[in-house]
């Protein structure tokens, strides 16, 4: 029996002596990060973390305590019991502790441990020579084990993945790209995108066309555009009374071609797009099984996503989205809140094309790579207002200039509603607050 297993037994026994019910979540994580500056690996970071969360039910109330000091069982249990004395009421029928669908262990193909990180970082740095842009970034290898224990048993799941974050810098362009894979190979989508960006770096500065024009949004910008809706469908926003969509579920909101689902990835097949490493755990940190969930069906928001707590507050069933941090990066010291880990935006087959086809369809318009400030009113309003961070002028299906920074306001009801035309067939991973696979989206002029 391992030291950690002993410790779980001790905490469970001590909690059982003082509480009617107890649940433990332990996360063990090892990260190795190599930072790349100007095409050269220049710093290594490593982190080992073991953290435990104990939740007890006592006299009908919940008490929670977390610690990284697993040796001090008395202090941990004492903190949880003291918090239960004034804690929130325990919800009837809470999920109690076990993974209903234990996660399969990932394949161990071709991973040379931390050495893989260095090799990937060197490959990332080598893109500087290939693309002709200065390349910065990080490569992270993460191993994460999640242990859950309760009076009815104990489960352990584990995961391993690579995260690649790149920033290609030219004379005028600063282009970010991120991806997650389960194999230590650079996703093919990354060099392809950098090659395209390198071709745009020498273009002149330009203003956006006046009047209505086509808008082609890159995955990062699509993520920003969707954030108000994703936030408004979050059980936390619903219970806090700040969701603009909570009272309008079932009413048409977006173009009838559009769907938004949270569902598992097909791992290996998507590594070359950088989406294969997105997490899909068997259960959330409340112990509720994770299952596919449709959030928007044919343009209609149909349901919110919940943790056990927000579901109880709304009188509905939990959906398996209660995570401390998120599924990619469990942070035991944070509270469990609803989070999407694999949201996928899609459209009917007739409205899907390649990126080149979408770009070719723009006679006069803009390609928006990223926006700034789009998250600041998330959940309160369907309008994303902020500034253009990086965008390009498009004329006759070709990128013709680099847009000057300017304020922008995008109403997702328009861009993904009456102006929606098509999405790309390829999706990239984007993870900021919530994670998903986002396509390019083309919206036409009014």
């Amino acid at each position: 029996m391992s030291t950690l297993a002993d410790r779980l037994d001790q905490v469970g026994a001590a909690a059982a002596a003082r509480a009617a019910h107890w649940e433990i979540l332990v996360v063990e994580r090892d990260d190795t990060v190599v930072e790349v500056g100007s095409g050269v690996p220049d710093l290594v970071r490593s982190a080992h973390e073991t953290a435990l969360c104990l939740r007890v039910h006592r006299d009908g109330r919940v008490g929670t305590a977390t610690t990284t000091c697993l040796d001090d069982v008395d202090a941990l249990v004492g903190d949880a019991v003291r918090n239960a004395a004034h804690g929130p009421p325990a919800s009837p029928g809470r999920a109690t502790g076990r993974n209903a669908t234990p996660e399969a262990a990932p394949a161990s193909a071709a991973d040379q441990g931390t050495r893989s990180v260095r090799l990937l970082a060197e490959e990332l740095g080598a893109l500087q020579r290939a693309a002709g842009l200065t390349v910065h970034g990080t490569v992270t290898r993460t191993e994460q084990a999640v242990h859950r224990a309760a009076p009815d048993g104990r489960t352990t799941t584990w995961d391993r993945f690579f995260h690649i974050a790149a920033l290609a810098e030219g004379a005028a362009v600063q282009l970010p790209w991120t991806g997650w894979t389960r194999t230590p190979v650079l996703p093919a989508a990354l060099p392809a995108w950098l090659e395209a960006a390198a071709g745009w770096d020498g273009l002149p500065a330009a203003d956006a066309p006046s009047g209505d024009h086509d808008v082609l949004l890159a995955p990062s910008a699509v993520h920003t555009l969707l954030t108000p809706l994703v936030t408004a469908l979050n059980g936390t926003a619903v219970t806090a009374g700040r969701s603009f969509v909570a009272g309008h579920l079932g009413a048409p909101f977006l173009h009838p071609s559009i769907g938004l689902d949270d569902h598992p990835s097909v791992r290996a097949a998507q590594d070359e797009e950088g989406t294969g490493g997105l997490a899909w755990p068997g259960s959330d940190d409340d112990g509720v099984p994770c299952a596919p969930l449709t959030l928007v069906e044919r343009g209609v928001p149909v349901r919110a996503y919940h943790s056990v707590r927000t579901a109880a507050a709304c009188g509905t069933a939990p959906t398996g989205h209660g995570f401390r941090g998120n599924a990619l990066r469990r942070t035991v010291l944070k509270p469990a809140t609803p989070v999407l880990n694999g949201a996928t935006l899609s459209a009917e087959p007739a409205d899907v094309g390649t990126f080149d086809e979408l770009l070719a369809g723009v006679r006069e318009g803009v390609l928006v790579e990223s926006l700034m400030g789009g998250h600041q009113r998330a959940g309160l309003s369907p309008v994303v207002e902020g500034r253009l961070r990086l965008g390009f002028l498009v004329r006759d299906g070709r990128v013709a200039g680099i847009l000057r920074q300017r304020p922008v306001a995008l109403d997702l009801r328009e861009v993904l509603g009456r102006r929606f035309r098509a999405v790309s067939d390829r999706r990239w991973a984007v993870s900021r607050i919530w994670s998903g696979r986002m396509p390019f989206v083309l919206a036409g002029g009014a």
Binding site: V34, E35, G37, V40, P41, D42, L43, V44, R45, S46, A47, H48, E49, T50, A51, T64, A65, T66, T67, T68, C69, A75, D79, A80, R82, N83, H86, G87, P88, P89, T114, V117, R118, T239, A240, G241, R242, S243, F244, A313, L333, P335, M372, G373, H375, Q376, R377, G379, L380, S381, P382, V383, V384, E385, G386, R387, R389, Q405, P407, A409
Partner: protein, 459 residues
């Protein structure tokens, strides 16, 4: 001492090379989080967060390692090994002035001395009052956090420093149903652990309710150029997000354009504009008498009378790169992170104008108070004030909603034409985020500012 009883054996036994610099930071933190949401208390959590980290910088390479164990030896050896085996570029550090003062005294009413039942009663009453204040209120969030962290820092140069970091924040947000969108009013308070700042906030909660409720019927602002009078809290955060972040020296590395933009002697704003980043005062969130490299904090005057003076806030690495002196700005969120150049307390010096004078000089404008959200990418900024009222012909009129202020970071300084005489020195719950290290406590002190011709969008 937590670590070595002062023995350098830890460094001797780590396998360091002769030209390696190494440091070890050990930390014990305790945090209390209390959250009210929906119709009552959502969570009450106590966290004990302990661990250590080690950093090795030398000719063979640089590495940082952290662990939730308290045994620093293996962590230091891991960093030393990674520096050689996995990488990387050689690093070097500038000489610095080590912090040698005694631990600063506690200020105010230490939060950990207040009984939790009293906290629950006080903060729960704010939540209940917000929900009950008006039928148009759809929800309220009360988020309270206090933390105390004891840190020990030891270096292979012989530095040994212990210090305590304390922080306290309270954010209250009230929501009302504004039809297609929700409206919000907020209360934001913070301190360096002084609980007294969250007492007596019932009138502020009432004001937040009034803001959220009134905004439901307020007209949406018409996009255009406005003269904007920003109150002290908004002006302080604006200064932090603009000149403050621009001055973090790691952004200057390899960025010749930024270095030219902030070249000493360059005029950015009017002659009444002076902005300083300094170690702050005891009891405030941005009080950093010693940074996480053990450097004693010193003030850095970024702008004097509108002209760039010292444009860079340093850690020891960036100071070496620019052949300048470390400024005491190397800050790490916790033992999980290496220190980076970060802001502490940014202060806009007071001017001569009264608020009445600033408002009286505006024909078409806005009076903006507080911050609901904001972001900058060092080229542009965008802010959502917590509350905005219209100014017409020198008179403050009703609320408008949907106001988003945006502009170019460097261009906005020239738009300032009046600075208030009262410098606001309170703390809010607003914290700083950079490279995944969030929320780092900071303070922003500023008088009211008037900016001519700011771009305003509606959202």
């Amino acid at each position: 001492m937590l670590l070595t009883s002062g023995s350098p054996a830890l460094f001797r036994d780590a396998g360091l090379r002769a030209d390696d610099y190494a440091e070890v930071r050990v930390e014990r933190a305790r945090t209390v989080d209390l959250v009210w949401r929906g119709d009552g208390l959502e969570s009450s959590v106590t966290s004990r967060d302990e661990g250590c980290c080690a950093r090795v910088i030398g000719g063979a390479g640089s590495a940082f390692a952290s662990s939730t164990t308290m045994d620093a030896g293996p962590v230091l050896r891991r960093a030393a090994r990674d520096a050689v085996e996995l990488g990387c570029a050689a690093g070097r550090l500038a000489a610095h002035r080590p912090y040698q003062d005694d631990r600063p005294g506690e200020a105010g009413e230490p939060a950990e001395t207040v009984d939790v039942a009293e906290k629950m009663e006080l903060l729960g009453a704010y939540h209940a009052a917000a929900l009950a204040a008006h039928p148009g209120v759809t929800g309220a969030l009360v988020y309270y956090r206090e933390s105390v962290a004891d840190v020990e820092l030891f270096t292979s140069e012989g530095t040994g420093v212990t210090y305590r970091r304390r922080d306290l924040t309270l954010q209250i947000t009230v929501y009302a149903d504004g039809g297609a969108a929700r409206t919000a009013g907020s209360v934001s308070a913070g301190s360096g652990g002084d609980f007294s700042v969250v007492r007596g906030l019932a009138p502020d909660v009432e004001a937040a309710v009034a803001t959220a409720v009134d905004l439901r019927g307020a007209p949406v602002v018409q996009p255009g150029d406005y003269d904007v009078v920003c109150d002290g809290p908004l002006a302080g955060i604006w200064a932090h997000e603009t000149i403050g972040h621009l001055a973090e020296a790691d952004h200057h590395l390899g960025d010749a354009r930024l270095q030219r933009s902030l070249a000493p002697g360059r005029r950015l704003g009017p002659s009444m504009l002076t902005i300083t980043d300094h170690p702050g005062r005891p009891g405030a969130r941005g009080f950093v008498p010693v940074d996480d490299e053990g450097t004693a904090g010193s003030p850095v005057e970024l702008l004097r009378e509108g002209v760039v003076t010292r444009p860079r806030l340093h850690d020891r690495s960036t100071a070496a790169a620019f052949r300048e002196a470390p400024t005491g700005n190397a800050r790490a969120l916790s033992f999980r992170h290496p220190p980076l150049p970060r802001l502490r307390t940014i202060a806009v010096a007071p001017g001569a104008a009264t608020e009445e004078e600033m408002i009286g000089g505006v024909a078409r404008g806005l009076l903006a108070r507080g911050v609901l959200g904001g972001q900058t990418d060092r080229a542009g900024f965008t802010f959502l004030p917590a509350e905005c009222r219209e100014i017409r012909d020198g008179e403050v009129r009703g609320r408008v909603r949907g106001v988003v202020l945006s502009g170019d970071v460097l261009g906005a300084f020239a738009a300032i034409d009046a600075i208030g005489r009262e410098q606001w020195r309170g703390d809010t719950s607003a914290s700083c985020g950079k490279q995944g290290q969030n929320p780092l406590p900071v303070s922003s002190w500023a008088p009211a500012l008037r900016l001519r011709g700011m771009r305003v969008n509606s959202g």
